[in-house]
Amino acid sequence: MSSKPLTHSDKSLTIPARFDQLRRAGAFVSDMAAAAGFEGLQLNRIELAVDEACSNIIQHAYAHRPDGKIHIRVQAERGRRIVITLIDTGEPFDPEAVPVHNPEASLDDLKVGGLGLFLIRQTMDDVQFEFNVPGLGWGQPKRFNRLTMIKYL
């Protein structure tokens, strides 16, 4: 057996769509990101993106529906990048319809909507939303939503 260090890892976790699971999701992703070489503020940014994305799914896609689930897949390439995929079967939404947070807005104009989405886009290098993706059968849901977030080292 070669003792060559593992450079790729691919793990998944499915959590109930509840706020009390946010930290578990964040820790799962940050542990893999740390093993891939991310550290310090970078790790905080990755955890924040996962936290905000899961919070949006819990609040908006499932509207706190108790049976909702979030499937999290993390593909980490050591020294290069991390790809985080979140899958849910809740209501799709139009990210373009969410008011965009404007950090330059004057105090009076400051609205607190869209902060989560804004932070996801600020903290990750590549963010892609897909809605109503058809499933492939074999026990998969008929349709699902997929958010892919990529961060490079």
Binding site: F19, R45, P103, G116, F118, L119
Partner: protein
């Protein structure tokens, strides 16, 4: 479950100032504690609320929203919210969303307390 946020509240003698110290993580699961502490501090008639973030290690948009609401409610009553001692991960999130320009932020608790005393005297 042990809460991952600790909020301690202290009233400053002879001033209408409350100091809230946050330790741990401010996210969707813990914001309720800060909301309650802010409401208590406002209802007790404090004009200035100093929020010491020196032991806050993490903040998400849920925490940012509660701080913003707390600031706006306090100002509606003619008061002020001062923040101090932001750690790098927290400061970075404040900078990303533009909150460093919204909040009055001090590097140290001492500086925030001096500013609070000035407001209290004024």
């Amino acid at each position: 479950m042990i809460s991952s946020l600790n909020v301690t509240s202290q009233r400053v003698e002879g001033q209408s100032t409350a100091v809230l110290k946050l330790a741990g993580r401010l996210d969707a699961t813990t914001v309720g504690q800060l909301e309650r502490a802010l409401t208590d501090a406002q209802l007790s008639g404090n004009r200035v609320i100093v929020i010491d973030l020196s032991d806050l290690t993490y903040i998400s948009s849920s925490g940012l929203r509660v701080l913003l609401t707390g600031r706006s409610n306090t100002r509606k009553r003619g008061g002020e919210v001062f923040l101090c001692s932001l750690r790098p991960p927290v400061r970075e999130v404040f900078e990303m969303v533009g909150f460093t320009a919204v909040f009055t932020i001090f590097d140290t608790l001492e500086q925030a307390m001096e500013a609070a005393a000035a407001v209290s005297r004024g």
